[in-house]
Structure formats: C-alpha cells, structure tokens
Amino acid sequence: MIINYLTLSIILFCLGILGVISRRNVFTVFMSIELMLNAANLAFITFARLHVSMDGHVLAMLVIAVAAAEAALALAVVILLHKHKGVLDTNIFSLLKG
C-alpha cells in the first residue's frame, strides 16, 4: 500500500529531473524543480504515515515554505534574465563555459 505512494513520489521526481535536464525554457525548468520538491514532500508525508511520527509533516511544511521563497526569488531572476536578453532559453545563458 505504502509502496504505491513512494513509487508515485519517485516517478514525479524523475519527471522533474527529466524536465530540468531536457527543457530549455527557464519557466519549464523552474516548474520541474517545483515538481521535484513536491515529490519529496509526498515522500516525507508517506514516511511520516509509515512511522507514525510528526517529523515528516514538519519537514514537508518547511519545504513548502522554502519553495514559496524560492519561487519569489526565481521569478525575479527570470524577469531579470528576460530583461537582459529578451529570451528565456537556458542555452543562451552559458557564461560559465570553460
């Protein structure tokens, strides 16, 4: 029973990873990261249920808070990026190329 929740969590997480790796639009990448965070949340809740403990809930709350803060910051960054180059393609932003 529990394993199904965990499988869903893993599938969501992998989808998130795939999104980060393969998509080039900054927004999509950002949404994929949110997806991964929520996958983690699901896993936390599941384990909390499994161990009958509140720790998992606390952490899930914390993750939601962090995700919210991150969303605020990331959106600002995205706007700046758009102002700077006019597009939101991650391939354009490759200043770290060696």
């Binding site: 790796i21 990448v29 991650t90 932003f93 490759s94 200043l95």
Partner: protein, 638 residues
C-alpha cells in the same frame, strides 16, 4: 738597527701606495671642478718611489752589516686571515734576494716616474696616470717583500690589475682596451696555476706555517710527485706573469700603453716577477730537477721564438717587447738549470738596459710626435744625440757586447747551462744571442742612421727636456756598469751578486775549467759579432721598408699564434656562452619547469571540455553524481 729595518719594511710598499691613494682621491674629488696643477701631482707621485728607494737602500745596508746566516728580517704587520690550520700574516721579509730586488725596482721605478713627468706633460688625465703608476710600484714591492706566497699573490694580482689599467690607459680606442683585457685575462690564467700551486703546497706542508721560512724548513717533507706538481703549477703562474710560452701573447700587445708604462712593466716590475718567484721557491725547484728542466726548456724556446718575431717587427716598441720576452726566456733558462743567482743577476742588469731602451724609445716617439714605425724614422742620430748615445749603450748591453752589463749576466746563464750539461740549451742560447744582436742593431741603424724617411717629422724632431734625458743618462751609466757587480773570477772579480744571494737561493754551482769558460764566452762574443755585422751590412747605410714573404711573413705575423688562440679559446668560449644562453638554458635546464607548466595547461584544457556552460549539463552531472553516491550508499548498507 734592526728595528729601523723592520720599520722600513712595512713602509716601503706603503710609500707608493699612499701616493696612489692620495693622488687618486685628489683626482677624483677635483675632476669635475678646479684641478690641482700638474706639477703638484708630479711631485707627489715621485715622493713615494724616491722615499721607498732610499729606505730600500737603508734596508740593504742594514742587511749587509748582519752576519751572513742572519741576513733575514721578517716584519709581520698583522694577522691577515687565519682559519683552522691556515694562518696567513700580512708580513714582509727582507733577505738578500728581496733586498736586491727592491733596490733596483725602486731605483728604476723612481727614474721612470721622473721621466714620465716630461713624457706625459700634455696628458689630460695626468693625475690618473701617476696614481696608477704608484699603485703599480706599490704592488710590485708587496710582491717582492711578501713573506709568503699568499702575500706575494696580492702583489702578483696587483701588478696584473695595474698593467690592465695602464695598458688600456688611452681607453677611447677599443684596441687599447682589448690589449688591456688580454693582459689581465692571460695573467689570470697564470694566476689560476699559482693559486692551485699554493693550494697543493698548503695541504702538503703548509699546516706548520705558510711563509717562506717555514716552507723552506719543511720542504723535505714534500713527496716528490707533489713537489713536481707544485713546481709546475707555480711555473704556469710564472709563464703568465713573465710572458713565457704559451702565455706570452699579452706582452707585445701591452705596448698600447704609454711608453713609461712599457718601461715599468718590462724593466723593473711585473715581468720579472715570474723569475723572482722561481728563485724564491728555489728550495722546491732543487728537489725536483725535472721541473727545472721543463722551466729551462720553456725559457730557451720562448727566447728563440720571440727573437725570431723580433727580427721582423716594424714598431720600435714591439721590437723591444719581443726582446724582453726573449731575455726573460734567458732568465728562465738560468733559473731552470738551477743557476738562480745568474737568473736574478740577469733580471738586475736587464732592468737597467731595458728601462733605458724603452725610455730612449719613448724619447724618440716623443720627438717624432707619437710615430712608432721605425721605417718612418731614420737619421735621427744628429737630432737626438743624447738619446742616440744612451740607446746605443742600452743596445750594446742588450746584445751582450763586452764589457756592457748584458754580456756578463747572459754569459753567466749560458755558462751555467753549458757547465751543468745542458748543451742543447746553451747552443740555442748562443744562437739567440746572435739574433738579439741582429734585431737590436737593425732597430738602432734604421732609426738613427741612414737618411730620414719622413722629412717633415724629421725637421720637427728635437731632443726632449732634461727631466727625460737625465734619467736616460743615469740608466746608461747603470747599463754600462751593472755587470761589474758580478764580475766572474776569470776577470779577477768576486761575483758579488752571486755570493750576496747565496743565503736566499739554493744555487747549484757548476764548475768548469777556465778553458771551457773562455770557450763559452768566446762563442757568445762571436755570435754578437756575427749578428751585429749582418745588421750593419743590411741597415747601416739606410734601408727601405722591407716586403716580407715566405717564412719572414710567417714570422712577421707571429706564427699566427694570436689567431690560433682566438680560434681555439676565445671563439669557443663565446659560442659556448651563446649556446648555453640561446639553446641550452631555455630548452634543457628550464625544460622540466616548462614541462610542468605545460602539464598544468594540458590538464586544464582537458577539464575545460566538460565545462559547457549549459545549466542542463551541470544538472546531468549532478544527477549522475548523486545517483552514484546513492548507489554506493545502498551497496554499503546491504
């Protein structure tokens, strides 16, 4: 009495040195502003040598009053340096040998200084010249008076330095400076021999004291092989300083300096140092006759070769320069066959007549407005009577005409060589005597006899002022009479010089029948007559500029020895330097460093490929890394 002598011993070298420092300081402080009058410098420069000469005479007379076996005065001024068993004092020693040397070194040195007052009169840096001259004389006195080899080495190098300074005195002309460089560098090659000789000598017997007295006392402890090595190394030093084969090449070039310098180098100081040193170390040389043999052969071959060069020169000073090299060869032949007193006696007489000849040549050059080519002179006899007569005395002495001084000293050497069984050396010596007579009178006839070759300079020629002629006359008297100091018993003399030197040098007295002695003497005189006659026939009636062909051309170009040395040593030295600097240093020595820095670069390049700059790619790396870590953890947990 002895106290005064000790006092003087330290002062003798100091006198000219103080003069040098004083003149140097005065010159340097005033060279930009108002100068002192030249006369002041002239007086200052002459005080030192003259005082040293007077003191040298005092020391000599004091030494004379002492009994023969006590004729040695040592004055240690201070400990120079002392490390472990090495203990060197700045000490001065007067014994018969050194007292005789300083006597004529200071006397002739003083005369040359006085002469220079006139000769250098128009020079712009008058003071500098006299400063160097005083330094030169001071160094020579340290060399002679030093009580051990290391102190001698101070003077030894000092005269080398001064010769450099004085030869390159007219330093605007690069050839003069090159001649100076050559003198210094060639001397340094010899000095290397001297230093190594000292080092070996020190490690063999120097621990008990490294001055002549202790060395002489311990000389018997020296193993034969080491003694041989030390003798030869010291002789290398002597060949450098005294211009013997193979290091004689600097001396003829040293003519680039002002003429009084040539006189000082050739007559009283510097070149005689080598002979003096061999005589000083006679206690070593007598223990290894083979070393003496080598010295004698090198000497007589140098005499021969330079006499050949001398016959073909056309510069008046070069003729004299080669005659000096040749006479030095005689001296080495003398000390080589263990006739040390004969060698030193020749140094003594040679100092007079060679100084005389050089100063005479200086007068001629002065009168001819710095013309040195003998083929542009001629007929100067009438214009320069004093110079002519005095130079004639010098020439007769040089070529060994009896009863001039050169005859006695040269004959003594040749006789010693003959009597000690070195017949070949004697034969070459007689041959060289004939050649000496030839080239000396070739010079005299071409310069003073015949018709003037250059009318204009002949008309302007005039006898130099008395400040120059008086030293000439004094030296001529010396050149005439110096030989009688050591009159052999054959002529009723007592060999005063030889018996005076007895305590200092371990002379090997060769005895022979009177008839042999007459025969040897007769052959020398015969050689002189033949040489003189040929010169008379060829040149006395006036001669034209010769054209050299064949062997004469070869000899005129000094057997191309300079070119050979240039090819063998100078050019390789330069090219090794260039190779090291251009190729070896950046590629081989610096190679490992370059390789390491290249390696860093290569590694960096490799890692650069991974850094694409795309966020997605970094995310992949992260995922792969995290996956691997997770895998690892799960493996370990299981």
């Amino acid at each position: 009495m002895e106290q005064t002598a000790h006092f003087y011993l330290g002062l003798i070298p100091l006198m000219p040195l103080i003069g040098a420092v004083l003149i140097g300081l005065m010159h340097v402080t005033t060279c930009r502003g108002h100068r002192f009058p030249d006369k002041l410098y002239a007086v200052l420069a002459c005080i030192g040598p003259v005082l040293a000469c007077i003191m040298a005479f005092q020391v000599f007379t004091i030494l004379k009053t002492l009994p023969v076996e006590h004729r040695i005065l040592v004055h240690k001024v201070f400990t120079w340096f002392s490390v472990g068993e090495l203990n060197i004092s700045m000490g001065f020693m007067a014994d018969p040998l050194s007292s005789l040397m300083i006597l004529f070194v200071t006397f002739i040195g003083s005369l040359i200084h006085i002469y220079s007052i006139g000769y250098m009169a128009d020079d712009k840096t008058y003071a500098k010249f006299f400063g160097y001259m005083n330094l030169f004389l001071g160094s020579m006195l340290i060399l002679v008076l030093g009580d051990g080899p290391v102190v001698m080495f101070v003077g030894w190098e000092g005269v080398g330095l001064c010769s450099y300074l004085l030869i390159s005195y007219y330093n605007e002309d690069s050839s003069n400076v090159l001649a100076g460089n050559k003198a210094f560098i060639v001397n340094r090659i010899g000095d290397l021999g001297f230093v190594l000789g000292m080092a070996f000598l020190f490690w063999a017997i120097g621990a008990q004291g490294f001055d002549y007295i202790s060395l002489k006392a311990n000389a018997h402890l020296l193993p034969q092989a080491t003694a041989m090595l030390v003798c030869l190394l010291l002789f290398v030093g002597a060949t450098g300083k005294s211009a013997q084969i193979p290091l004689y090449v600097w001396l003829p070039d040293a003519m680039a300096g002002p003429t009084p310098v040539s006189a000082l180098i050739h007559a009283a100081t510097m070149v005689t140092a080598g002979v003096y040193m061999v005589a000083r170390f006679s206690f070593l040389y007598v223990t290894v006759p083979d070393a003496g043999e080598i010295v004698a052969w090198i000497g007589i071959l140098t005499a021969l070769v330079s006499a050949i060069y001398g016959m073909f020169q056309d510069d008046i000073k070069k003729v004299l320069a080669y005659s000096t090299v040749s006479q030095l060869g005689y001296m080495f032949a003398g000390v080589g066959v263990a006739a040390y007193s004969a060698g030193i006696f020749h140094v003594f007489t040679h100092a007079f007549f060679k100084a005389l000849l050089f100063l005479g040549a200086g007068s001629v050059i002065y009168a001819m407005h710095h013309e040195q080519n003998i083929w542009k002179m001629g007929g100067l006899k009438k214009k320069l009577p004093v110079t002519y007569l005095t130079m004639l005395v010098g020439a007769l002495a040089l070529s060994g005409c009896p009863p001039f001084s050169g005859f006695f000293s040269k004959d003594e050497i040749l006789f010693s060589a003959f009597a000690s069984g070195h017949k070949a050396i004697w034969a070459i010596g007689v041959l060289v005597a004939g050649m000496t007579a030839y080239y000396t009178f070739r010079m005299i006839f071409v310069v003073f006899h015949g018709e003037p070759h250059s009318k204009s300079s002949y008309d302007h020629a005039h006898e130099p002022p008395p400040v120059m002629t008086v030293p000439l006359v004094l030296l001529a008297i010396g050149a005439l009479l110096a030989g009688f100091f050591n009159l052999p018993e054959l002529f009723g003399g007592h060999q005063m010089v030889s018996s005076w030197l007895e305590p200092s040098v371990l002379d090997h007295h060769a005895h022979a029948e009177a008839s042999t002695e007459w025969m040897v003497m007769g052959s020398s005189v015969l050689a002189f007559v033949i040489g003189f006659s040929i010169a008379y026939v060829k040149f006395a009636k006036g001669a034209q500029l010769p054209v050299f062909t064949g062997f004469a051309k070869f000899a005129y170009n000094k057997f191309y020895i300079d070119e050979l040395y240039d090819m063998l040593f100078v050019q390789p030295y330069k090219s090794i330097g260039a190779i090291i600097w251009k190729d070896f240093d950046p590629n081989v020595t610096d190679g490992p460093r370059k390789a390491i820095s290249w390696l860093y670069g290569a590694i960096g390049d490799a890692f650069r490929l991974v850094q694409t700059g795309y966020v997605r790619v970094y995310a992949i790396y992260m995922v792969i890394g995290l996956s691997l870590i997770s895998l690892l953890i799960s493996q370990t947990l299981n």
